[in-house]
């Protein structure tokens, strides 16, 4: 009952000063709009830039690195114990690049419930023969279906159908820049030579655009079977196992575990791409800072308007107190006014923020580097809307608190006498 009365008084005071109220609410609306839009846009860009790398980077990669033995035979031999070894130019062992016992490892990893999926891959250096010119590139033998599911391979194939790699025998997808160098159109046959000197014709079924030009100049994709054939290896030959986990944060731990378990080299995504995470974080911090600054400024706007309103309404406050409203009641009336401005302004801000975001989402954004993007990216994460409205309520609460407290302390005698 009392609350209803307080709300109805607050409402009358608000309506009596509608213009001021609207100005205060518009301040909040504007800041929330900008906050939501800014964060949506920033994180949209962040996600896009990150996904450029992160989407196709395995969370954990298993491979066999070429490196010299850590314990050289001469050190292992007891004969030279205590002697100084000065043999230089030691070569790395002629170890195989393939992962040993890959079939069993694949089966074991697929049984791990932290793992979302696994795509085997063969990476081999090749030369493309373009008349007299040889172009160095590397060919990736991939499991097309898994690669599409886990690493969005299809998004980067801008011309042609990626599944053709699997369905058309001896087919290849070329990096767009590489294809331009080779003057290879879809359906053309390109010649390539492996490092063993074998020469193969492969049919071009698509172009690949990753967004990184240098990458596109040197990469080509074929099915894993084709590459095994190219290299003259059997069905179990794979050089990389790419694992995608359910939770990316587990990657370092899983990488360590697999290194010991499978006796291979492993690399986790955090180590491989640490700079991306840093960049995203800095960008997020900047957007939050700007957004919160906007809200604080809006808070000062509310503070000013409420202060002014209290000066204007001194008589009203005095008469309310004289007729039996306590200081707390008066405080609540002005808090209700502040919170109404906050809630109405905040909700309108969310709506306008959403509309502005949608508008930005429609603006064309075409860049050669990002073939899959046609408009500016926006992240519509509900979390930003929740953060925005929460902060709006907190700022208006504090902006209203001090003026309301002052209103509560108004001494009616001074006002009534003073006339």
């Amino acid at each position: 009952m009392n609350l209803r009365l307080i709300v109805s008084i607050a409402k009358s005071l608000l309506l009596a000063r509608l213009k001021q109220t609207i100005v205060a609410a518009v301040g909040v609306t504007f800041s929330i709009t900008m906050f939501v839009t800014l964060l949506g846009f920033m994180t949209g860009l962040n996600t896009m830039l990150d996904s450029l790398i992160l989407n196709r980077t395995p969370h954990v990669r298993l491979f066999n690195d070429i490196k010299p033995l850590e314990v050289q035979p001469i050190d292992a031999s007891g004969k030279f114990k205590g002697a100084y070894n000065f043999i230089s130019s030691i070569k790395s062992g002629a170890g195989r690049k393939e992962i040993y016992n890959s079939g069993a490892i694949i089966q074991r990893i697929n049984e791990d419930d932290r793992v979302l999926g696994l795509a085997p891959r063969i990476n081999a250096p090749v030369f493309f023969n373009d008349g007299a010119i040889e172009i160095t590139a590397s060919i990736n033998g991939i499991d097309v279906v898994e690669e599409m599911r886990l690493f969005h391979f299809n998004e980067y194939v801008t011309t042609g159908n990626p599944i053709d790699l699997k369905n058309v025998s001896n087919s290849i997808v070329l990096g767009k820049a590489l294809a331009e160098k080779l003057l290879a159109n879809i359906g053309d046959v390109v010649q390539l030579t492996t490092s063993q000197g074998e020469r193969f014709p492969l049919k071009v079924v698509g172009y690949f655009e990753s967004g990184l030009l240098d990458f596109d100049k040197t990469q080509a994709y074929a099915s894993i079977g084709t590459v095994q054939k190219l290299l003259g290896k059997d069905k179990s030959y794979v050089t990389d196992l790419q694992v995608k986990l359910n939770d990316i944060l587990l990657a370092p731990a899983v990488a360590k575990e697999y290194a010991i378990l499978f006796q291979t080299d492993t690399e986790d995504i955090q180590t491989a791409n640490s700079q991306f995470e840093t960049g995203s974080r800095v960008r997020s911090i900047i957007s939050y800072t700007v957004g919160i600054t906007l809200l604080v400024v809006a808070g000062f706007g509310i503070y000013n308007i409420l202060n002014m309103m209290i000066f204007e309404k001194m008589e009203t406050i005095a008469i309310l107190k004289a007729t039996g409203f306590s200081g707390n009641d008066v405080k609540r009336i002005f808090m209700t006014i502040a919170m109404t401005i906050g809630v109405v302004g905040g909700l309108a801000g969310l709506l306008f923020g959403f509309l502005l975001s949608s508008l930005i989402d429609q603006i064309p954004f075409n860049t050669a580097a990002l073939p899959t993007i046609t408009t500016y990216p926006i992240n519509y994460n509900i979390a930003y809307y929740i953060i925005g409205v929460t902060f709006a309520l907190i700022t208006t609460y504090f902006a209203g608190f001090f003026p309301a407290r002052k209103a509560g302390k108004v001494d009616p005698v001074i006002i009534i006498r003073g006339k």
Partner: protein, 226 residues
């Protein structure tokens, strides 16, 4: 022996800024139920200051104040607000209606605050009161559309809404022309006669005071005649 509604026991008050000046000096008096009392005195004699103390709005004094035989001195601000709401009705010199509300809502507000009756009942009571003061036609007008005399009658209706023990007035006719003054006085007089309503009115109008039952005269912060 009639019932005592308001009692002032040796109330003293001083202002300390910039030098200590004694405003009220040992004020002792009682008001019985149903009395129509006026407080008169020259400007600056402390009669308004006394009224604000008696109305519980000013708590910065020495001595004791009892309303309805309950000690007011030392109560918290919220408790005093409740006392004002329930037991005291105010009529000020400058009407002091809330301009944001209609006349009816102005009358209703203290009743709604008290929360003893439902909103419909309070509205009904407010309409009855306004009818009695023949201002029921003005009920839905905004407060700032009313004339001075009308405002004062609305203020009286507001003062009556919670059936207060006492109505206090600070120069209720001070700002009105002769005709309206008379109307307001007649209303107040009628209230004491018909409803045994206790009145304590501060005025500097000797004519007004002369028509009341009892006159308390003040000079330089003292009661010189009661």
């Amino acid at each position: 022996m009639s019932e005592i509604i308001l009692e002032s026991r040796s109330i003293n008050k001083s202002f300390h800024d910039p030098v200590t000046v004694k405003i009220l000096n040992d004020i002792n008096f009682k008001v019985n139920k149903g009395e129509f009392v006026s407080v008169v005195g020259k400007s600056g004699c402390g009669k308004s200051t006394l009224l604000y103390i008696l109305s519980t709005m000013d708590t910065d004094y020495e001595g004791e104040l009892l309303i309805d035989n309950i000690k007011m001195t030392g109560k918290t601000e919220a408790e005093l607000a409740h006392v004002r709401n329930e037991k005291i009705g105010f009529v000020f010199q400058f009407h002091y209606l809330l301009n944001e509300f209609s006349a009816l809502k102005n009358v209703m507000l203290p009743g709604l605050k008290l929360g003893k009756h439902s909103e419909q009942e309070v509205e009904h009571r407010a309409m009855e009161l306004m009818k009695k003061l023949s201002i029921d036609k003005l009920a839905l007008k905004d407060a700032n559309q009313l004339s001075g005399g009308e405002k004062q009658r609305v203020a009286i209706a507001r003062a009556l809404i919670n059936d207060p023990d006492i109505i206090m007035g600070d120069e209720p006719t001070g700002n009105l022309d002769k005709k309206n003054s008379e109307i307001v006085f007649d209303i107040l007089k009628q209230l004491t006669i018909e409803f045994k309503q206790t009145m304590l009115i501060v005025t500097h109008d000797p004519e007004f005071a002369g028509k009341t039952q009892r006159v308390i005269e003040m000079e330089d912060g003292r009661i010189i005649r009661q």
